[in-house]
Every structure is written in C-alpha cells, then in structure tokens.
C-alpha cells in the first residue's frame, strides 16, 4: 500500500496503518533525535513521544512531505527535552558510563567495520564521537539545520519545512553552522581520512 493511502487510513483511526508508517520512517526520526540530543536513551524517548504526538495530531496533517512533518514533530520534541535539561541540568548515567559512541553505533550501520581492522573501526568510532561532539556544541538552531542538510541530506525547502523557518534563514544558519563546525573539526583533523583533511582540499 502506498504512503498516501496509509496516511488516509491512519487518519481514520487505523492504528495498523499508522504503525506501518512508523516502521517506514522510524530510522530517520530516531537518527535526527539522536544527533540533536546526543544520547541514545533520550533519543528513543523523544522518538516514541514524537510518534505518539503524530498519531494524536494526524488529522492536522494537510499533505506535503509526511516524513518532513514527522521530523518537525521530533525536532520540537527534542527542543523541549533540551530546554528541560537546561532548566534542570543533570548528568546522565549514559554519558558517565559510555566508553564508545553508544550501543546503537555497533549495529548494522557498522557492519562494514566488521571487514576492517580493529584499529580502523576504532578510528571510525572516534571520528564519529568527535563530529557528534562538535554538533553538540552548536547552537540548537544551527545544529538541526546542519544535521538535516549534511548528515541526512535534505534540501533547503525540506529543511525549511521541518524547522518552520524561511528559506533565507535556513541558508544563513547552515553557512554559519558549517563555519563553526569547521573550526571545531580542526581540533580532530588527525582523525579525518586524508581525503577529508581540510588543508588538502583544493578548490574545484
């Protein structure tokens, strides 16, 4: 069944149809939540809450990109969570006990690493942590735009729909986010593969 039909049935209260939409998009939604919050457990909670909110407000979906609508909901959920943490800061157990990038980064996404040397896998993991650390230090609005554009590959209009901002604002935020990320990644340049080293890049 195609997505518009599933959406229509879900809007009429068909939970099975909605759950099929969940299964189709949960990876993107979870990944955005994880990159924004930076913690697996909190990202899971935000994702679940976002899907629940989506189901309850499904009648408010007026067409367009369904996944964009879902990403907007999870983005707002993550913002709420981060604001709540700012008001009541606490150190999460996950951060204290984490020795790598998190259990989920050892999943199928890292299957390729099974073929490589253990040192290479460790380097990849360390690089991921370094980039995530740079993202975590970006202002929230810049972070979301950078993740949507450079990690998840959405175009400007989709990003504008997700963050609820004009196209020009997205363009400006993304440029400034890249500038800050560039400064941050300079500290980890030895982790970057040779092809990605910033000083080796030649103008096209």
């Amino acid at each position: 069944m195609d997505e518009p039909s599933l959406i229509r049935e879900a809007q009429q209260g068909d939970l099975d149809a909605f759950n099929r939409l969940v299964l189709a998009h949960q990876s993107q939604v979870y990944n955005l939540a994880y990159r924004i919050i930076g913690e697996a457990d909190a990202a899971s909670d935000a994702t679940q809450e976002a899907f629940l909110s989506a189901y309850r407000n499904l009648r408010g979906f007026r067409g367009g990109s369904f996944v964009g609508w879902l990403l907007r909901i999870v983005t707002n959920t993550c913002y709420d969570e981060l604001r709540r943490r700012k008001r009541r800061p606490a150190i999460s157990l996950e951060v204290l006990t984490e020795t790598d990038s998190g259990p989920d980064e050892e999943g199928p996404a890292s299957l390729a690493s099974l073929q490589e040397r253990p040192e290479a896998a460790a380097e990849r993991l360390e690089l991921s942590r370094a980039i995530q650390n740079c993202l975590d230090h970006l202002p929230l609005e810049f972070r979301t735009v950078a993740i949507l554009a450079d990690v998840q590959g959405y175009d400007y209009s989709e990003i504008a729909a997700v963050v609820g901002a004009p196209l020009g604002t997205v363009k400006s935020r993304l440029a400034r986010a890249r500038l800050r990320l560039r400064d941050c990644l300079q500290r980890f340049r030895e982790l970057l593969p040779a092809a990605f080293r910033l000083e080796d890049e030649a103008p096209s």
Partner: protein, 287 residues
C-alpha cells in the same frame, strides 16, 4: 584564522548554497567566475566542502527498537468481552444478598413469635432419641446392657431433662407434690438415665403398682417444659417414667430434618456468583 573567517557573510552563504546546488543558474555562473579569479574564495570553498563531507561520515544508526504504538499507548480502548457475564455475576451476587437478608429476617421473626415454644426442637430431638433407643432394642437383652447402651443417647438428649433435674430434686418441690413433666417423657420424678431407659426397654419388669401410675401418667397434660403443678403425688422413684413416655411420643409429630428452600436458594445464588465472577475474570485476563 582560516579562509572562511575572512569572507564576508554574504559570500559565506553563497559558497554554502553553491555546495548544495541551491543557487540559481545565474548566481552559479557568477560564482564560478569569481572562484576562478579569487584564490581565497576558492580556498574557503574547499574548507566548507571538507566540513560537509566530514559530517557525511556520520553513520546512519539503527533504532534500538521499534516505535510502533500499542492500542493502549494510542488511547484506544478495546471493546469489553462478555459483558453479559459481568452483569450476570453482579445479579447473582445481589440475589444472594437478598436471599441472605430474607433468611435473616425469617429467623428473627420466628424467634420473636415462637419464643414461648422454643424448646420444640429439643422435644423432637429427645423424641427421636427415644425412638431410636426402642427401635434398636434387641429382642431380649439384659437390662443392664440396654441401659448402658442407651445412656449415651439420652446424654445427648436431655438439655430439658437436665435443666429440670435440679428443680425436681429440690425438697421444696417434692414436698409440694409438683409433677414435673420433662418434654416427651410424661410427668414424674426425675430418674437416672439408666433407670429411665431400663424401664422403657423392659416394661415387664415394672412393679405391680405400675397400672395405677400408668393411669395417672396418661392423665397428665400435654408434654411441656413448664413444670406442671398438680395434685398427683410423686410416684415411687424409678418406676413410673417408662410407661409415661409412650403416650406423649405418640402425640408428637415426627420432626424430619430438612434444609429450608431459602438455604438452597442462598447456596445456588452464591455458587452462581462465584462461577460467573471467575469466568468474567478469566475473560479479562485473556485480553
């Protein structure tokens, strides 16, 4: 300080949009021309492209679990199964309570209106005991053995006789010539249980004056627990009891033990309530 920091903000945004293919064709042509001429601009573009690529190295993570919603999470209430069972269970419980109430009311009302004749069950009890003793009597048993055998039976029976015994034994009553008639046993003085039964079992061994005593005993009023004051003198101890028992016994109705209908109703309703409640709970757990 890198090349990116030296750029004006407008050029920075243009380079960023250029990387993403978000410039108009005209803007792209103009920026291409500038990049060929301005080395600093080209260097800044290279730095930005490397940053974008580095972010692209982040892996796509696998969600730790599925985020599908359950009906409970979605706030969907499943239709209740077997609602008739729940109603039937409630009705059976109510009927049981009503039956209990009726039963209790009946017991109370009987206790008030028949208070004076309350010993009636005791009379029936004693009557059945005596009947049992005579029925189980052997053809020609030795008197002592019969007395010993029937003693336990009477020992169960005589709350009334026991209650009366001290009264009969008191000298005042004896001197007044009171004829106390224990229920179902006719009037006469108190006798030991052994004597009583021995005489009941073997009337042939009664002394010659028995005929007179029998006549006076037959003339005594209906058996009652209330001591009967009468002119009859106290007969000789241990002689008159057994023949006197036969006349009242023949007049008493036989009490057949039976469970009242209301009790059957209570049992039935209670059983129905328990079974229906169990079925209802089972149906709920299956959900």
């Amino acid at each position: 300080m890198t090349g990116l920091h030296r750029l004006p903000r407008r050029d920075l945004e243009k380079l960023s949009a250029y990387l993403d293919g978000e410039l108009t064709p005209a803007e792209t042509v103009r920026l291409d021309a500038r990049l060929r001429k301005e080395a600093a601009l080209a260097e800044a573009l290279g730095e930005m492209r490397a940053t974008k690529r580095a972010l692209g190295l982040l892996p796509m993570l696998r969600p730790p679990r599925n985020f599908t919603l359950t009906p409970k999470m979605a706030g969907i209430r499943e239709p209740r199964r077997y609602p008739a069972l729940r109603w039937a269970s409630a009705l059976a419980t109510l009927a049981f309570m009503a039956a209990c109430g009726l039963d209790a009311f009946g017991v109370l009302s009987r206790g008030v209106s028949f208070g004076a004749s309350a010993p009636a069950p005791m009379a029936a009890e004693m009557q059945s005991a005596v009947l049992e003793a005579t029925a189980t009597e052997p053809a020609n048993p030795p008197p002592t053995a019969a007395a010993e055998e029937s003693a336990p039976i009477l020992a169960q029976a005589p709350p009334a006789a026991d209650a009366i015994a001290p009264l009969m034994a008191s000298p005042e009553i004896r001197s007044l010539g009171v004829a106390v008639t224990p229920l179902g046993l006719g009037g006469g003085p108190p006798a030991t249980e052994g004597d009583l039964e021995a005489q009941a079992a073997f009337p042939t061994e009664t002394p010659p004056s028995e005929a007179e005593i029998l006549a006076s005993a037959a003339a005594t009023p209906a058996p009652t627990l209330v001591p009967t004051l009468g002119p009859a003198p106290l007969p000789a101890e241990g002689t008159a009891r057994a023949p006197a028992t036969e006349a009242p016994l023949s007049r008493l109705p036989l009490a057949t033990p039976r469970v009242p209908t209301i009790r059957w109703a209570e049992i039935g309703f209670a059983g129905a309530a328990i079974v229906l409640a169990a079925l209802s709970l089972r149906g709920r757990r299956k959900r």
